[in-house]
């Protein structure tokens, strides 16, 4: 019997795992919807002996399971809950304050040079289609971490104009069947692009009605670490394939670009020429208790191009987020009514 993609249900940890190999319990997971159909398939890498000498021919006679990897994407309309989760797990360092209905998560990137871990927080992810005795799909991916997130805000009235996408990597370890009873779906608070406030170098792009679209992002450039002793899919069984023992933070990057209407007196080209620096603050909200605010503490313009969007003269600006001695590169303040996100 064919199975429609809409039947897939996912849940994943809103609290972090205690370590990369210990999965979240169902109580620490939430079920959210997503927009993209891709599965987080555990992929087994293999090798064979085709190139080895001594066989008398160039063909493989044996193949070997070498290592597992998991990866996936969560593409969603922007909500307060998912934003808090993406910032907590994506940036890695969280301070929680507030109480229901106003939990506040202040998030910054991990700085290993100052004593922070060099690994991101881990979560588990479950994919299920008709779980039970005759499950179509029921598996739990252990030791996943946010590799990158991208916030996209654009012009228009629909939900599609404020989206948040997260790409994650996993250790490769998975459990099938998951043995997880999926929690009830979490009701999310939608955040729409109409709530945007944007200030770059002190210019309020919303008050002047100039902003057309923007994209902000963070990339951990995670590296799967199959170090000697990192372990196997089945503990102690070298034929089951290796799993990563940790996901290391790579050279991280923050990104910020936007398109705005270009008009007389616009400062973007001047700021590019002068290489002046300033802050960039992006705020979006559902209400006072459910919101997201991103602050890039020091940005310069890397490129500014005058062009056209839908028949109007626009300027496309790409910023270089830089390290600020007091506040670092980027901080996020996310508010929602779910406790213990990233804790």
């Amino acid at each position: 019997m064919p199975v429609r993609m809409q039947e897939i249900r996912i849940c994943f940890g809103f609290r972090k795992q205690t370590d990369i190999g210990t999965p979240n319990s169902a109580a620490n997971m939430w079920q959210l919807r997503k927009l993209n159909p891709q599965f987080a398939n555990p992929r087994l890498n293999t090798e064979n002996d085709a190139l080895e000498y001594g066989k008398g021919h160039e063909f493989a006679v044996q193949s070997f399971a070498t290592a597992w990897e998991t990866a996936g994407t969560l593409e969603k309309y922007l909500t307060a809950e998912f934003a808090a989760w993406a910032m907590a797990f994506g940036l890695g360092k969280v301070v929680k304050s507030g109480t229901s209905p106003n939990f506040t998560y202040t998030c910054t990137p991990l700085i290993p040079a100052n004593g922070d871990p060099d690994e991101p927080p881990y979560f588990s992810l479950v994919e299920q289609i008709r779980p039970g005795a005759n499950a179509v799909l029921d598996r739990l991916m252990v030791g996943c971490a946010v590799n990158s997130w991208t916030l996209q805000v654009s012009k228009g009235p629909g939900r599609d104009n404020a989206k948040l996408s997260v790409e994650f990597l996993g250790s490769g370890k998975y459990v099938e069947p998951s043995s997880i009873t999926m929690p009830s779906p979490t009701v999310e608070k939608l955040i729409m692009s109409a709530s945007l406030a944007l200030s770059v170098h002190g210019t309020d792009y919303v008050a002047s009605k100039r902003i057309v679209s923007l994209e902000a992002g963070w990339n951990n450039n995670l590296m799967r670490d199959y170090y000697p002793g990192s372990g196997f899919q089945s503990s102690g069984d070298p034929t089951s394939g290796a799993i990563a023992g940790r996901l290391l933070l790579g050279n991280r990057q923050a990104t910020l670009r936007f398109v705005a209407l270009f008009e007389a007196g616009a400062q973007e080209l001047t700021r590019l020429r002068n290489q002046s620096t300033g802050t960039a603050v992006i705020s979006l909200s559902h209400n006072t208790n459910n919101s997201l605010e991103l602050t890039f503490h020091k940005v310069a313009f890397a490129s500014v191009e005058v062009g056209e969007t839908d028949g109007f003269v626009t300027v496309a600006a790409e910023c270089t987020p830089m390290w600020d001695d007091t506040n670092g590169v980027l901080s996020a303040v996310a508010k929602c009514n779910v406790d213990n996100i990233g804790q």
């Binding site: 301070v95 304050s97 202040t106 910054t108 700085i111 602050t295 007091t326 506040n327 901080s331 303040v333």
Partner: protein, 59 residues
């Protein structure tokens, strides 16, 4: 009154600060972390003071 959170430095120094980004972010990027619930419970000024456990000795 603003909410306060207990932060701990990489060296173990404890500081109670306003739960606002302006106060938290500069500490967070310098390695300070939020105290766990257990650490908050033990955050009395005299926590760990061995003198409190010492039985007075007769002269």
């Amino acid at each position: 009154m603003n909410e306060m959170v207990l932060m701990i430095s990489p060296d173990g120094e404890q500081r109670t600060v306003d739960a606002a980004p302006a106060a938290l972010v500069p500490l967070m990027i310098r390695g300070w972390r939020q105290a766990t619930d257990e650490e908050v419970t033990d955050a009395r000024p005299d926590a760990g003071d061995q003198d409190l456990l010492r039985v007075p000795q007769a002269d």
